[in-house]
Symmetry: C2
Subunit: 148 residues, 2 copies
DNA sequence: CTGAAATTGTAGCCTCGTCTACATTTTGGT
DNA sequence: ACCAAAATGTAGACGAGGCTACAATTTCAG
């Protein structure tokens, strides 16, 4: 059973293809956290004029220590800046990412609603789904929504 | 700015609601890995008659050491069994989970295709998306597909 | 039946994301 | 102006998930 496996079930993807997919899903996941932070910070800036670590933490449902640590990572990756005891600010890169993420989120929610998912459920599911929707799929979503 | 924040932007969810959503997305993520393993093991059993750690590792694109460690977790959680140098087997619980996951995967792919996402892209994106689709959304997908 | 190759298992290390506990700084009410 | 409360920051722990390197077992070709 060394080389003939696939013959028995041609509907199973090749090893390489499957490994690649799982790999992509894994890296999407690692980007997901940063995307969530950036989007939230951007929203807070727009709605209350500032983004404080404590607010971010509360919104995300984590301890403030966790939020501060992740914000450090944001800074390390050039998405945000902050000085001790002052709020957090997004860099241009961070703001651009936030905008992309926000648009994608909207689109995902709209699509879910369009296929019949109740609004609040769509909103909740989108939170997890959005990080795994490729640009190609997003374009398809856009077309689909336009066609209705 | 202690209590009036929401007044300025009523379209932002409440702190509690948002925290809850993020929390759900986080736990979905922690379940995702086990789901992937269980589904893959089940597929391998069906297609080649056995699931060996090395095959699992190659399919997932991780080292065999990583696969073995995660398989231990599967055992710890009552989803699989294995004895040294023998393959991995799913418990009834594991098999049931695999079945649910497989069905959900199909449904997600079908829906993506139905809204116009190209087949291979749908397959790839589904790998990440499926873990975040709630039962309510799944039911909506089913209805939507039936209505065509 | 025997030894090399493949598979399986173990050990140790790293990073990330989370927490609690404690220290420091700012803010605000009196 | 001061002190308590709130916010912020730091330290240390833990589990998950990943890796490489090495050890042990099984398989198989000759």
């Amino acid at each position: 059973m060394t080389k003939l496996e696939r013959a028995e079930r041609p509907d199973m993807p090749t090893e390489a293809a499957q490994a690649h997919r799982f790999g992509k899903a894994r890296s999407a996941q690692s980007a997901a956290l940063l995307e969530d932070y950036v989007e939230l910070i951007s929203d807070l800036m727009a709605s209350v004029g500032e983004a404080r670590p404590t607010d971010v933490a509360r919104r995300l449902g984590v301890s403030h220590a966790t939020a501060i640590k992740t914000i450090s990572r944001l800074k390390r990756e050039g998405l945000a800046t902050s000085r001790p005891y002052r709020g957090v600010f997004l860099t241009d890169d961070g703001e651009a990412l936030a905008e992309r993420v926000r648009k994608r989120h909207r689109l995902v929610v709209d699509l879910l609603v369009a296929v019949g998912v109740p609004g609040d459920c769509a909103e909740a599911d989108a939170e997890g789904i959005e990080h795994h929707v490729s640009d190609v799929a997003l374009a398809a979503f856009r077309d689909f929504l336009a066609r209705r």
